[in-house]
Symmetry: C2
Subunit: 237 residues, 2 copies
Amino acid sequence: MPEKFTPRDRARTQTMAEIVAIARRQLLEQGAAALSLRAVARELGVVSSAIYRYVPSRDDLLTLLVVDGYTRLAEAVDAAVLAHREKHGVSDPMAEFKTLGHAVRTWGLRDPATYGLLFGTPVPGYEAPAERTNAPGTRVVLRLAEVLTMAWIDGAAVLPEGSPLPDVLRSELDSLAQEFAAPPQADHMAMLFHVWAALFGLVSFEVFGQFGALNKPVAEALFDNGLLSIAAMAGLK
Amino acid sequence: MPEKFTPRDRARTQTMAEIVAIARRQLLEQGAAALSLRAVARELGVVSSAIYRYVPSRDDLLTLLVVDGYTRLAEAVDAAVLAHREKHGVSDPMAEFKTLGHAVRTWGLRDPATYGLLFGTPVPGYEAPAERTNAPGTRVVLRLAEVLTMAWIDGAAVLPEGSPLPDVLRSELDSLAQEFAAPPQADHMAMLFHVWAALFGLVSFEVFGQFGALNKPVAEALFDNGLLSIAAMAGLK
DNA sequence: ATTGCTTAGAGAGCAGTGCTCTCTAAGGAG
DNA sequence: CTCCTTAGAGAGCACTGCTCTCTAAGCAAT
């Protein structure tokens, strides 16, 4: 089918993009709570009621920004990891893990408000529609899974032994492991999850300022050290 | 000095307590964003301008709730750990660590809005005044430090070897370690920090619903397993 | 080309918010 | 009893999200 684009269509998608751009800037500069449809409309040069032609509600604007944020984060992470591979080959999972971790941290520190929107307190009364956010929202975990899985396969990482998983958990994780190409089993899935949570715990504490003001080089060194501990937790050397 | 309490004084502190109680309930039921001074005033049976006699601003109300939240969390954690000690003695740091972790998780799941206020996205434009929040805000870490430190001292936990800390970090952490009674050195402080971050990463992911809807027994088992991995990271067996 | 549906935007309006101001009445100390 | 302080009332300002109705322009079919 030919799919015509009338001038109106083009104007619409352009206005839409402009709205997201304006909202993103306001989010960056003033935080999520200060994000206002009226302010966006004002900046767009349009009366307040008019943006409701484009965005049905404030929550919907947030969803737009959530999707946008997940996508940008995933792209930053992918770019960092792939650039590393480009340069050093795929043989160093530890280095790749560190690269991934630092990419997440750097991105979060650069845009704390969006980071908070993605990984912080959920906006009350608002639930991100899974069908729109799931795909972009899982890209980083999937990349992390790829890095760790490769390490586990080729022996660069060996999962430390622990007590066996309880059955409820094992069966759940096994079915989840099906979706991966190769050998990760339930134990690997559990560890992947813990690494993921620990990494974001580290980043969140720093982005959200949970421990007062650490000066930059100290914070960086601490994060670096944290990545090493997390890697060790996963059996990665 | 005699410190008289006039009827007015008593009425004031009582009204103050009532305000916090109402706000807390509203926070629990509708989340931080929906917390409104006017709503609190309404429920207090007073005209909207009147609560400004008690609370100078909305942000200040939030501070009140932050302090209140930190205190309640710390009390829940302390109660759990101390109850465990009461029952089993102080000889099992692993069990104490798990008790502490579960206490944090349970508390967070029971009052997600307050948990989010404490550990989630900071309210933009609002900075918790350190002189009021620091003391209650550090109680849980200090308890965690106590548990781990005891384990490190009596050999129940042995810090895994890693690459030495960079100097900037080491000196910073060493001076921080001064504040503790006994042997923890910079490496221990770093690990304490990572354990703390990993624990809250785990809890936050669950409280904030970062991974869709896991059914309860699975989530519990996963968390349990996560605690084991974190403990292993700290060299705790 | 004219008809007729769809759309972008304007404008007014509602109910709610935080916060400030002024005024009244009661509390309490000298 | 006097005089200062305080709790609360009430009006008002500037802002929010969102809805409604109306006008003018886009666009497709006849």
